[in-house]
Symmetry: C2
Subunit: 207 residues, 2 copies
């Protein structure tokens, strides 16, 4: 599985790298999550400059796409050229949006009239875009998921792994990154956020 982690200028490091690092735990099974950006180099909200791993056009080909967050998302959401070039499609891809990424998803018309998650700062802008915002870290409707709060990015990653590999693989990836001595509790809490939004067969298959 190839995953695009859409990372735009002003990006929040937590939102791009937490999800990417957890997804890359499945590297041994041929998975790869790639920092995906319109420009060859992209600078974070804290001034960290990163070389992109894939160009923007990769997002349309990936098996799954995570739309990261950042401090310039309102500008990006107004960039009709950027939105047009994205070419993502939930009928053939899993799509997850993190925090202000939900605003991009709303502008792309991919949320419809379903409730979504976002961070507290972006919440008014997502509501203005016509979307109901939940007081929850994660929600998925079919192939589209949204998460709110930087560290909820681990739930987006777990959802993608559970959907495309399996529940056990998601639990193992979370277990690896969880704090020592708290791993069981951590995995239980994280999977509790994600499991209600998995197809019944995925959950049953993990027993």
């Amino acid at each position: 599985m190839q995953i695009a982690v859409l990372t735009l200028d002003g990006f929040n490091e937590l939102d791009s790298f937490v999800a990417a690092a957890i997804l890359n735990r499945l590297r041994g099974q041929g998975w790869a999550a790639h920092i995906t950006s319109p420009a060859p180099r992209v600078t974070s909200m804290n001034g960290v400059t990163v070389d992109r791993q894939k160009p923007l056009e990769f997002a349309a080909e990936a098996d799954a796409v995570i739309i990261g967050s950042g401090i310039r998302t309102r500008d990006h959401a107004a960039d009709t050229d950027l939105l047009a070039r994205l070419g993502i499609d939930p009928s053939r891809q899993l799509i997850g949006a993190q925090c202000s990424g939900t605003l991009l998803l709303a502008k792309l018309g991919l949320i419809g009239n379903l409730p979504a998650c976002t961070d507290l700062t972006t919440k008014p802008w997502v509501i203005e875009a016509g979307v109901e915002v939940l007081d929850a870290p994660f929600v998925a409707h079919g192939n589209v998921a949204t998460a709110g709060g930087c560290l909820a990015s681990q739930y987006l990653a777990a959802w993608i792994i559970a959907r495309l590999a399996g529940l056990r693989e998601a639990e193992e990836a979370l277990h690896y990154v969880a704090p020592v001595g708290e791993k069981e509790r951590y995995v239980t809490q994280a999977m509790a956020a994600v499991r209600p939004f998995l197809p019944v067969e995925a959950v049953a298959g993990s027993a």
Copy 2:
């Protein structure tokens, strides 16, 4: 406060960026956490290349230093030139090591005979270096802290903020990054890991 996040070739993105992003929540108070590396550009274990924000020598001047983790730490721990150039000193700096960063700390002789935390993969190497390893996510002895499990990096960041700004500031930074709808629980759990290792006056002052 200026914080060096020591980031070496093969680094784990979670270990460097989770701590740095949480510490940078205090940017409005003049704090900055900097990706600090011997080379101008450094590449992660998942192939993400980042421009360093500060050279290696910055570590010796910083108010606090976080030693990140990665897949090449055993090589780095054998690099006596690197270790000699670090020049970090817990008598005048807070020093935190994440996962395999604990091995570097052991090689620098900064753990002494106190028990430490590290990840499960590095554990045998840290034990071989003569250090007792705890089944816990976080421990601090005076100005030296160690953490185990990638996402325990948030505990290192919280400890530095609590020590150098205050308990309330640490809680606020964690609250911001925590998942929506789980923020109270998240902050409570994280501070429970850190609070036993804070000076009595810091904890009392937060009531």
